[in-house]
């Protein structure tokens, strides 16, 4: 399991009420890796936040951490 996937899982689990239902799938592309995050419907707001602020903070952190391994990561929050 990649470090970024684990990183996203840790963060998402700490934000939601139902951590057992947090799922991250990694779709690897040549330059960019897409991280698909699934949470329980009632927890969607917790990972998105007001005006998407939480999702934005997660994205920023993923790209900062991705710099270390010179890869781009894109977060998709799936409904």
């Amino acid at each position: 399991m990649s470090a970024m996937k684990e990183l996203l899982e840790e963060i998402a689990k700490a934000l939601v009420d139902n951590p057992e239902d947090v799922q991250v799938t990694e779709v690897e592309g040549e330059q960019t890796t897409v991280l698909e995050l699934r949470v329980r419907n009632e927890d969607l707001g917790k990972v998105i936040g007001r005006q998407g602020r939480t999702a934005r903070a997660i994205r920023t952190l993923l790209s900062a951490a991705g710099m270390k391994i010179h890869k781009r990561f894109v977060l998709e929050i799936l409904e």
Binding site: E6, L7, L15, R56, A65, K68
Partner: protein
């Protein structure tokens, strides 16, 4: 202890596991005092320990992400102050500290959704925020000088709301210039203009 509640059990372990399930916490996230041990069992006063909750979150997050960063957390009456150190701190303070700001925001969500009171989390690394604030003050003064010299408005670069606030505050008492935010949402910029003569 600020918000401690009483939990009861036949043994200390039973009382603590009661506290864990009521507070939705792992054992390591609690702080507690044993208040009485009468014939009926054990009573503990327990609450979430903010330092432990956030310390666990940060250490697990850094470990998961393969980041060599450690956090030292200190709880004061008004806030939880976190000092980050380690080889990978530069990743967080790069690009104006976007990573540090994002992590701080997430820490606030993670902690305060579980606490019954609000305890703001502040993260810093080796005086980074002071340095950033100094740079902003210098930028503000440069913009003010330029506005006065050219007698025309100076439009500053894109900044976070917190940074714009610092610029406004830095120049609030400057008799020569006035500041204003121009634009909408993400594209908001601070405009520094010479004060009109009356």
């Amino acid at each position: 202890m600020k918000q401690a509640r009483e939990f009861r059990g036949e043994t200390l372990d039973a009382a603590l596991s009661e506290a864990c399930s009521a507070l939705n916490a792992r054992f390591g996230e609690l702080r507690y005092d044993v208040s009485t041990t009468d014939g009926e069992g054990v009573v503990v006063e327990a609450e979430l320990d903010p330092v432990a909750v956030l310390g666990l979150f940060l250490s697990e997050t850094f470990k998961a992400g393969g980041l060599e960063v450690a956090a030292r957390l200190v709880e004061t009456d008004e806030a939880l102050e976190g000092e980050l150190s380690g080889n990978d701190c530069g990743i967080l303070t790069a690009a104006g500290g976007k990573g540090l700001d994002s992590l701080q925001y997430l820490c606030n969500r993670v902690l305060n959704r579980r606490l019954e009171r609000h305890l703001p989390v502040h993260l810093d690394s080796d005086g980074f925020k002071d340095r950033r604030s100094h740079q902003l003050q210098n930028k503000a003064e440069d913009a003010a000088d330029e506005a006065l010299r050219t007698r025309s408005p100076v439009v500053m670069g894109l900044m976070t709301p917190a940074a714009r606030r610092e610029i406004h505050l830095a120049l609030a008492d400057d008799p020569g210039v006035e500041t204003e935010s121009d634009g909408e949402g993400f594209l908001k910029r601070v405009v520094v203009r010479p004060r009109r003569r009356r």
